[in-house]
Amino acid sequence: MSVVSRGLQSLTRREILRFVRRPYNTFLPPFITNILYFSVFGVILGDRISDIGGVPYIQFILPGLVVLGAVSNAFENASFSIFHGRWNEYIHEALTSPLAYWEMVVAYVVSSALRGILIGILIAGIGAAFTPVRTLANPFYAVAFLGVITTLFAAFGVIGGLVAEDFDHLTVLNQFILRPLVFFGGVFYSLDALSGVARTASYLNPMVYMVNGVRYGVIGVSDIQPDTSLVVLSGLTVAVLVVDVWLFKRGYGLTD
């Protein structure tokens, strides 16, 4: 028998179909937002901003926008799906089944990470239409970073979905925690633009490592050495997954 039980397959499939069957909700918003980003920051402003590390500004922001779209979609998918299932109580269908707690977590995380990756690819495609990035500078890093960070944020999303008590909490998590991290995470600027405290503080922002990792993978430019980032981020991902499983086991937000 394979490690992937039929139960795990079913829940993962259900979770993937949930967003694939609603393409207008899933793919249209990031499509439009990113066309706006690339038009405004890349084309209109980009010409007035000098090259960073020898790369045109539009190419510099492309990996950042991929990260932004990928992690926020991974996070939102996991948190929304779990929260909505709790709200309408249909998450009981999975909870009262013989799935192991770790399997429930894996199903939510894998499907949400997949959504993040699909959106990341979509954004890269839009970017490629605006600026000629045709090959990946370091494919291994591009793939590895994208995989790890979407998993990490899907795992965070699981926690968000379990602790949220109403729909507003989900918005708060997104607007007040995720957005600032992303915007100060070096999506739109290089750390070289910062000095002193701002620069030091940036090294505490996990997003900085993610953006730079993907940037290194895509265009070969990075403020930070990628190997250490990858190891640290992987470690963090495992830690958050462990917390997820523990919360499911405790029934946090799931049982009375």
């Binding site: 139960g7 249909y90 909870l95």
Partner: protein, 333 residues
């Protein structure tokens, strides 16, 4: 052979509320077991402890010998639950909801599709397979809950008020479905406020109140425990209450020319009463016996906090029923 359900001293507290107050219950394999009790008695809490939706405060609970926490996967695999509150996936048509549920229980894709079709057919929803749950009528929603509980082919089917809001004809159809499953060996745990339903279907019922077991018995035994009402109409109003006494006759009351008796057995009391009345010079003109229904017994038991308890009822605090909501005569039935 372990019982289908066995709980020992099960306690669940919600803050100050003790929803389950040391409940010990055993449901034999293959039985059709009724769980009765007024609103708030703890029936749903009890059920949810078994499937992992409620974390018990203390005590033990096992399903076919599997501890509901330590062996949660085996325990849950054995159970098919039709809950009281609707909790159905809204993103998918009901056929797919059933397939997913079967899949979570390890059923392969083709088999899951067959079972989903069959379960929908069984509850009369074959024509609605591609509809979302939200678009079903109230009674159809109820029936769907039964289909979803059946689709995993459970050894223990738990039905929390499965026929609330279902029309009479369909209710009888659902009873047939459930009875067939029981005949094939599925253990059934049923909660209902339709006492008639319990009386017809169950071979054992437990009455619980305020999280405690009041009694466990067969429906027949319970009805036996109730008192019958005998009404005798005399030719003329007697002066004072006529003396009628015999074992099994609890009370005598008179109103005009009508004499009413409370007796353990109406049919035994009638000849005695008639003989004694005629011996005293009265002429009995009409006799009517109304047997207690299980419903009367139920109301009686849950109102008095267990006066009708036999030895098996365990420790029942005589005070529990004397105050608060349990006293309300309008136990929803």
């Amino acid at each position: 052979m372990p019982p289908a359900i066995r709980t020992d001293d099960l306690v669940k507290e919600y803050g100050d509320v003790r929803a389950l107050d040391g409940l010990s219950l055993s449901v034999p394999q293959g039985s059709f077991f009724g769980l009765l009790g007024p609103n708030g008695a703890g029936k749903t809490t009890f059920i949810n402890t078994l499937v992992g939706l409620v974390r018990k405060t203390s005590g033990t609970a096992e399903v076919f010998g599997h501890d509901v926490e330590a062996d949660y996967r085996d325990a849950r695999d054995a159970i098919g639950l039709a809950p009281q509150e609707f909790n159905v996936d809204r993103f998918f048509p009901i056929r797919e909801v059933l397939m997913h549920k079967a899949g979570y229980h390890g059923v392969g894709e083709d088999e899951a599709a067959d079972r989903a079709a069959e379960a929908l057919e069984t509850v009369g929803l074959g024509g609605k397979a591609e509809t979302r749950f939200d678009w079903l009528s109230g009674g159809m929603k109820r029936r769907f809950m039964l289909a979803r509980a059946m689709v995993t082919d459970p050894d223990l089917l738990i039905l929390d008020e499965p026929t609330a809001g279902v029309d009479v004809e369909l209710r009888h159809d659902l009873w047939d479905v459930i009875r067939d499953l029981n005949d094939d060996g599925t253990t059934i745990l049923l909660t209902t406020h339709y006492i008639e339903e319990a009386e017809r279907l169950c071979d054992q019922v437990a009455i619980i109140d305020s999280g405690r077991k009041v009694t466990v018995a067969t429906p027949d035994d319970l009805t036996e425990r109730g008192t019958d009402l005998v009404t005798l109409t005399l030719d003329a109003a007697p002066t004072g209450t006529p003396a009628i006494s015999a074992d099994g006759i609890d009370s005598v009351a008179v109103d005009g020319s009508t004499v009413t008796l409370r007796a353990n057995s109406g049919s035994e009391a009638v000849p005695i009463a008639v003989r004694q009345l005629e011996a005293a010079g009265h002429r009995v003109h009409d006799v009517d016996v109304s047997r207690t229904s299980l419903e009367d017994v139920f109301v009686d038991i849950t109102r008095t906090g267990g006066d009708a308890t036999d030895g098996s009822g365990g420790s029942v605090d005589p005070d529990t029923g004397d105050d608060g909501d349990a006293e309300s005569p309008e136990v929803t039935l």
